[in-house]
Symmetry: C2
Subunit: 255 residues, 2 copies
């Protein structure tokens, strides 16, 4: 939604698929913290997930890519659809009316923006340092939040975030996720900290290292991280071919 | 869609969420074969997945439950949303026009039934012997098909079926699935055959047995299956509490 908010609200009925939206849970990793990108819409008291509508001639997945790109400036993002939210209670007509009125539009009962919306949820893993958060046309702020400090969110966005996190945790046993969240070179403690942050619990150092190396997706580099007081730890990077293969075929023991 | 097809097509615009549907991949297991329930719509050359529309005041998931119930006569079905299909190419206006015209309706370009549809996919695991396949108002037949013999399907329904199967295969390593697909009492070879059928490959008998017993979700009964020429095999049933726990918390090694 790069256009003017008023014109979107006015013409949305002609532009977009009716009653359908996408919402994106955008995760980043920084300073050993899992972060999520949130927006503050004008006239809303609460923060919200970045989302948008789907053009009548646009694939639903492309709408999610477009939202991500316009909120973060990033393309080629790791993006996965995880769930569609179709509960009756999830539309906030009152807030949407406020947005219409404040844009000088008539809040007619039949207005496309006041109908019930079903939303398709996507989660994304992005390179925190490469992302430049940008508010959309209806928002006054866009910022990274520590996962532990996320305030109460708009509508069912808290549930959507929770479901995305559950999905990510489940997929962590089956798929590698570090590539999109870590810098190119990283130490084993940094990788472990990423997993611990996503899972919300501490892991045993030796078991973690054994398991990660067992997957065969890491390459140990000749360089070490220097500068610390302790013995300098080795740097690793991902073996891209094996990483891609694990993404497709899974990490776990199969039947 | 238990009402008359013509009245649904005529009044659907007022009744249903626009441009959204549900499609259900209903799996059953019988005679050592994985089956899927398909419909043959009138005026369509191809078979299709059972599906339906969502009433304006109905949860999306409830629409899936309703479709399942009306096609199989079963309630309390194991049902999971697995993916939403939002490709541009997936609506067949020509077929839908035929359906309108044959119902004596005008195939106006703005007709709700001729718009682009996004569909939310659900898969279900049902007790084959308890299900009584019933066609819906727009169909002339409803029947179980062996998975290996499924004919080319309508629209993108072949892709939807494939994605459901992939999801089921992935979840098989993480979740127990036998409860909804097997009779109350079963032998280890019968359970193994179910897994082999879903995975489409043979499994080693001893590894399979060790792994299944290791999950702790089976109870061995005193009875044995009698009547065969070989040594009568033990009968098992699921330990319901542990099975439910495994459904919630997974079977696999976690981090």
């Amino acid at each position: 939604m790069e256009e003017n908010a008023g014109s979107i609200l006015q013409n949305g009925g002609a532009l977009f698929l009716p009653g359908l939206s996408v919402d994106c849970v955008i995760f980043g990793f920084h300073d050993n913290q899992l972060k999520v990108l949130l927006l503050k819409m004008r006239h809303a008291e609460k923060w919200a997930l970045p989302g948008g509508f789907i053009y009548k001639e646009e694939e639903v997945e492309h709408a999610a890519v477009r939202v991500l790109q316009s909120r973060t400036g990033l393309s080629n993002i790791f993006l996965r659809q995880f769930h569609t939210f179709g509960e009756l209670s999830r539309t906030d007509k009152l807030l949407n009316k406020k947005l219409l009125v404040s844009s000088g539009l008539q809040a007619d009962e039949n207005h496309w923006f006041l109908q019930r919306f079903v939303t398709v949820g996507y989660y994304a893993l992005v390179n925190f340092s490469g992302a430049v958060p940008r508010p959309d046309a209806t928002s006054e702020a866009c910022a990274w939040w520590d996962l532990q400090e996320v305030p109460p969110l708009n509508l069912d966005h808290g549930d959507i975030l929770q479901k995305a996190l559950e999905t990510l945790r489940k997929q962590l046993s089956d798929q590698p996720v570090g590539y999109s969240l870590l810098p190119e070179k990283f130490t084993m403690p940094e990788l472990q900290r990423l997993y611990e942050t996503i899972l919300g619990k501490q892991l045993d150092r030796r078991n973690f290292q054994r398991r990660m190396l067992g997957y065969g997706i890491l390459k140990r580099l000749e360089e070490r991280r220097s500068g610390g007081a302790h013995k300098a730890p080795y740097l690793y990077c991902f073996d891209t071919d094996r990483y891609q293969d694990a993404l497709l075929n899974g990490l776990q023991q199969k039947w």
